[in-house]
Every structure is written in structure tokens, then in C-alpha cells.
Symmetry: C2
Subunit: 159 residues, 2 copies
């Protein structure tokens, strides 16, 4: 999971969905993307929230070669339900297609992670903009049974 | 929290407490320590399990300048109780003395983290040898109310 990068101020845009990344957000997100690529991370698909700041983040991840495929998903909009996304995941997963990056929003990414790993959310994960979460989901019953192997803010990922 | 580095095989030593880091474990732990230092991490105290593999790991962290102080603590031995360590922490914490690295063992570090952040342990954190966990503990009632901001295996920390 990757949270979108630094975006423009809330309120400057009539529709919050249209807020783009700032120049600084683009620069920093590019550095995070390159670092993920250097670390050897590749995924079968990047799925993103359709909101502009998320889509831009996902396009940057695509542009450095993290994946060959990108698609938007309404499940990843703010307040999306984990259950809906898990339904989609079950239909998508098959042999040879099992690694995935999703680009979305807070507090959803942190909440989903807590539900996947501990079965309930306490809002006790700190997920910074352009921060990364690494999870392993078992084939069956991922809620409360997934494993967390990575959580990093950009500051502790970049040089 | 930092898990000790790669150590010799269990069974090669009459007393498991005496197992040292392997040459490879020392090399990799030094790289992790240098990286933490490069990231600007400094702590008021490094506390370590007294077991050889942990003590060696802590000495490497000390040698790169992560802290000026190192002390062993029996609370960090395998199967140490979080409650005892929290008792010590309460007495240690004071203004100007609040950042701490602890070097210990699995599954304890993962279990303690889960207890601190979610109040109960499900063994769903993956904590690799020389892996790092970053936590923020509130002054009062840290169990179930601490925040997790970092979890990384060496592979995703080093170049």
C-alpha cells in the first residue's frame, strides 16, 4: 500500500477529488518510487483511488517500472470498504498473479491494515504521505490473519 | 526496537545464551547500524538483552554513535514480561530523557509491539534479524495506545 504524496491545500479546489500533488509532492513521490524500484519491488498490478492526487502518485510508480499495469478502483476512494475490495481481490488472484500495489488515502490505508492484521482498527498506525505499507495476505480469511512486514515513512526510506 | 543480527546455529553452543553473531551477522548488523545513524537516529540509551548475540548487536549500534550509553536488562531476555519493562520505563523517563533503543529477541519484540499498539498479540508482525521497529509510547497507559511508525527488515533498509 502506498499513500498518495503531498497534495495542494484542502479548500483551494472546488472538488476535493481534484487536488493535485504539489511540485514538492511530485519530487518526493518520484524519489520514493525510484527507491522502491531499486529495492527490487515489482508488482503485477498497481490499483489506485481515482482521485487526482492518488492517480498522479500511481502514475509515478508506473513510470519508474514498478508494474506494467495500472487501473483505478472506486473501492480505494476515501471511506472505501475493505470488504468490497477483498471481494475484488478474491476474483483477481490466481496463480502467477498475486502481487499488487494499491494507492489510496488515510485513514483508510492504516485502518485496512489494522483490520487485516489485527481484526480491528485502533488508528494506531502512522502512515505518512508517500509512506509505504507491506502486507502478506493469506488466501483465505485475510481479516485478522494477514502479516505486516513493512511500514515506512519516506523520511526513513530515502537517503 | 532492534532484533539481534544473524547468530550461530542453535545446538552448537552448550548454553543458548552464548551464541554469538556470525561473521555475516556482524557485517549486516554494522550496515544496519550505519544506516540508522545516516538517517539521523540518536537515542538517550541503548538497552539490551544480556545474551551474547543481543549484546554484540547493541555494541555495534553504540560503536556507530547511535547513543552514548548502553546497559543490559534482564527484562529483555527471551520471554521477558512487557509489564516489568514498562515499570522500569516509567521510572527512567523524565524531561530530556525519552528516546530509547532496545535490542532483544523474537517473538518477544513482535509480541510487545502488538500489545503496545493493539492491546493483544496475534503474532502477525514479521520481524527479521537486525530488523527495526519504531514506536511512540504515550506517557500514560502505553498498552493498546502506542503508535507504530516504522517496521523494516534489513533488506528494505539497506541499498
Amino acid at each position: 500500500m502506498i499513500r498518495h504524496g503531498l497534495a495542494g491545500e484542502r479548500g483551494e479546489y472546488a472538488n476535493d477529488d481534484d487536488r493535485p500533488l504539489t511540485d514538492d509532492g511530485i519530487r518526493r513521490t518520484k524519489r520514493v518510487a525510484k527507491r522502491l524500484h531499486e529495492l527490487g519491488i515489482k508488482v503485477d498490478l498497481i490499483q489506485t483511488s481515482p482521485l487526482v492526487r492518488a492517480r498522479q502518485t500511481a502514475e509515478i510508480l508506473l513510470s519508474v517500472g514498478l508494474s506494467k499495469q495500472l487501473e483505478p478502483s472506486d473501492n480505494l476512494k476515501p471511506d472505501g470498504a475493505l470488504e468490497h475490495w477483498l471481494g475484488w481481490l478474491q476474483s483477481w488472484r490466481q496463480p502467477g498473479r498475486n502481487s499488487l500495489a494499491i494507492v489510496g488515502h488515510e485513514p483508510d490505508l492504516g485502518t485496512w491494515t489494522e483490520q487485516l492484521v489485527w481484526g480491528e482498527a485502533r488508528q494506531n498506525l502512522v502512515v505518512k504521505k508517500a509512506g509505504v505499507i507491506g502486507l502478506l495476505l493469506p488466501d483465505d480469511a485475510p481479516v485478522g490473519h494477514s502479516q505486516l512486514f513493512w511500514l515506512t515513512p519516506p523520511r526513513l526510506l530515502l537517503d
